[in-house]
Point group: C2
Chain length 254, copies 2
DNA sequence: CTCAGGCGTTGCGTATTCTGCAACGACCAT
DNA sequence: ATGGTCGTTGCAGAATACGCAACGCCTGAG
């Protein structure tokens, strides 16, 4: 709606692909160099882009800080975290927490036990929406027309032979998930990885988040993982209870 | 430099404090509601802000994705990661990698301690710049005038009794660090946590990153931690060598 | 049930702001 | 030395964003 801002913001995903110099930015925006320069300068002042020593631009530090703060302000995350930790202690596997937003599903927390390597590296990354167990739960709760519309505009990459192949299959799976109140991903994303997931609901019963337990089948078979379902559901329900119990409003500025 | 973009971007840190409605945003920007609306809409189209069910705005999902991609494109991080992992395997403690950018020092990678004691730090979070060992190394390498200017504009929070108290002391410490080529933080941030850090240098000898090993003194004493210094330095040097060896330019678009 | 107040939204005329041009200076490689 | 590339600047014109005022919606009070 605002041309200038629109152009400026278009620079960000462009730089996300890698550093670029002024000319490249101007070209890909379809504007004059001087225009691109002014936009980049403004972005720079706000710390969103950084100018490295070779004069090329790349995404800047404040972006991390913003994403960080944004995440910390999600109260579902705050409430859920101790539960995720406890669940991880009980079963030993990787635990994820995810939310739906604007046609995307993304992890907002993760507890890993065996290889704590890259603890936060995948948080914030959009998940494989057509196969992930958490995605199924979150999408299954969307109003029917929206769900259908989304399902049909999605791509269905065949990560493995067990990936959801097309919209029709996906909608059918969502219906099942919606009914049973939990979801799985059995090798749909990576051949050897299975997941079980359960929904976290708000006071009105709508699904506000989903949590999952993931494990490679060299550690536990799919059946063994499924046996954890009651535990996962109990944990999710506990989070739901706490989340809908009270709404701690703390962001009251002076 | 560009008013419109400037205003739009000013909304982001504002929303980072917590969700806000249209009126609040307009007020704090000092613009008319209709203007604020237009800006928010543009931000929304780019996924940088999200409109929650109560109509208030908060930071959006794409912010995470961007921060994510930005991080993955830092090649120092990519090169250093396996070394961090190996170092962690050798000593068992938490290993951090940090860079300096625009008056801030921030962690860009982390390998968790194998000991159950966890330390609060997050990738992307700005570090306690006046006390952290990695910060000392990165700032010590700045050109003298810049270093001095920065040191004097900083705040010096007294996290503990051993925190750096003021600019003068900090500059003195930086001089020492600069000379010896490594740094420590002995309880300057949290009473019981000690760190040893070493610099990663580019081909031109400038410090491009810093890595540290941190451990609570209930696990190892400061002296024991210091005995790891040669190992830490060797690892940092190995990263430096690999980093300055070649400059893999991969971001060449079609 | 009515009405006032608050909030988000829209269309529009004005003028502020952004744009593209062209020229300059720095730097690199030939 | 010199041609080329790249980032930077000032400027005049015009497209663009701004603020205004009015509308519709919802909520809560009388």
């Amino acid at each position: 709606m605002s041309q200038t801002v629109d152009r400026a913001l278009s620079i960000l995903p462009l730089l996300a692909e890698g550093p670029a110099d002024l000319g490249q930015v101007a070209d890909r925006l379809g504007v004059h160099k001087s225009t691109a320069l002014r936009l980049l300068r403004t972005l720079h002042e706000h710390g969103l882009v950084y100018r490295q020593s070779d004069q090329r631009y790349r995404l800047g530090a404040r972006l991390f800080a913003l994403a960080q703060e944004a995440m910390e302000n999600l109260d579902i995350r705050e409430i859920a975290h101790p539960h995720l930790v406890r669940l991880n202690e009980q079963c030993g596997h990787t635990v994820h927490l995810a939310v739906y937003e604007e046609n995307e599903v993304l992890y907002i927390d993760k507890v890993e036990s065996r290889y704590p390597v890259r603890m936060y590296s995948r948080i914030g990354k959009p998940v494989a929406i057509t196969v992930a167990a958490v995605a199924k739960l979150l999408l299954a709760d969307l109003p029917e027309p929206e769900r259908r519309a989304l399902a049909e505009q999605l791509d269905y990459p065949l990560y493995t032979a067990r990936s959801t192949p097309h919209a029709e299959a996906f909608l059918k799976e969502l219906a099942t998930v919606r009914e049973q109140g939990w979801a799985t991903d059995l090798g749909g994303h990576e051949e050897s990885i299975n997941c079980v997931a359960a929904p976290v609901r708000g006071a009105d019963g709508r699904v506000v988040a989903a949590m999952s337990v993931s494990a490679p089948n060299v550690v536990v078979t799919a059946e063994e993982l499924l046996s954890l379902l009651p535990l996962v559901r109990r944990t999710a329900d506990a989070i739901s209870g706490e989340y809908s119990g009270r709404t701690p409003v703390k962001g009251t500025p002076a």
